[in-house]
Subunit: 242 residues, 2 copies
């Protein structure tokens, strides 16, 4: 179904624009995506509710409403000055944790949306079963997270959770530059069937209360600097321990 919207004050436009804010995403269980590649993946995952586009899209089921709008209106609802020609409202999926999950990534207060999106992308590529975020981790459905996840967020369960709830049934692996940490290659030989890989905050690392639950402390050996970008460090950990 295709409809035209001309007015800035149209309720659908205002609603779409409101989804930049977390409180509205939580209220409506919806989030906004941008660009044709991400839209294609969202359609594949059957998560698209409404499309806002500069020109009607041909390969979209007639059940999904397409609002044809001006570039000016598209700029209003997205976060980018020069958006690609399309945006869409998606429903936030209602994941619940499954006991069958074996390899899980736990994010202990990741703050940067670009890092979070990149971590989601990496976790999916290496076949992790789910991503769990601490309360203070940046919102999974922040537009910058969704953008840097390159659509991978539609294909891996992402949930809020507490690390302590994994202690009984999972091996908890914490990345830390702590003296007691063992090098990653050695850690690789000690991985159990069910594990949670914990990734800490970009500036402060893993919280003490989280680290105290660790069954295995690991570090990535470095020659100089002892400094890696958080998404890169996470990628090396996820690749090696997968």
């Amino acid at each position: 179904m295709i409809r035209k919207i001309n007015s800035k004050t149209n309720t659908r436009i205002k609603h779409a624009a409101s989804l930049k804010e977390k409180k509205y995403r939580e209220e409506f269980h919806e989030f906004l995506i941008e660009g044709d590649k991400v839209l294609k993946m969202a359609l594949e995952a059957k998560m698209v509710k409404e499309i806002f586009t500069i020109s009607p899209l041909l390969d979209v089921s007639d059940d999904i409403i397409q609002y044809v709008i001006s570039r000016e209106l598209l700029v209003k609802i997205t976060n980018t000055k020069s958006p690609q020609g399309v945006a869409a409202i998606c429903s936030i999926p209602n994941y619940s944790f499954k006991d069958e999950y074996k390899k899980v990534v736990y994010l202990d207060d990741i703050a940067d949306p670009g890092n979070l999106g990149t971590i989601i992308r990496t976790a999916l590529s290496f076949g992790y079963d789910a991503i769990i975020a601490s309360e203070n981790t940046v919102d999974f459905f922040n537009p910058k997270v969704v953008a840097s996840s390159k659509g991978s967020i539609f294909f891996i369960p992402v949930l809020a959770g507490k690390i302590v709830d994994f202690k009984e049934k999972y091996q908890i692996i914490v990345s830390s530059l702590n003296d007691k940490s063992i090098p990653l290659e050695e850690a690789k030989t000690k991985i159990k069937d069910r594990m949670v890989l914990v990734i800490g905050n970009e500036a402060n690392g893993v919280k003490e209360e989280t680290a105290s639950l660790a069954d295995l402390l690991v570090k990535i050996p470095m020659v100089k600097m002892d400094s890696l970008n958080a998404a890169v460090a996470s990628g090396i950990l996820m690749y090696t321990l997968k």
Copy 2:
């Protein structure tokens, strides 16, 4: 030495602001840095020529001139809306390639400044000897590259170069999802003493003419998506093949 500048049209302010553009960086062999952490590293590397700061810094040698300026002027010379309180002009180092370099990263048209900076940071952390960039790779001294390198650019030689010039003396390792590529863990056992790790463009991968020079084609095995962020993929390759 400390001086105060009040005027927007002051030549030092105009000069500093001009370094946002590559042509001026090339003309003057200078680039601009921002923030106290990066400045600290630049001072350690003895690459700082002039400092622009909101309040005078105490732990800086008197040989380096400090211009005390308003926040408004600092915004003018930097790329950020809300800059940290300090910026500086640094000299672009004149590296030349050394035959003793054993492990080198070659960038085949990396386009994103954030990715380039992150790759520099990773290469330094894992002890690579130098980074060589193809002609179409984004400028090493682009402010966004310098920022995302977190100061590591001061401690690893970065040079322009052609991959063909390495063919005779180095093993050329190309990351590619090509059918002939061998998995990374297998490639690890085949690394020679002198090697160049080639990393391709974010969207298009490694150029055909570059891939044709490869002694070893490697791929990172993935379960789903076959999609990793370029800086993450580079990080996994650099870590594994270091």
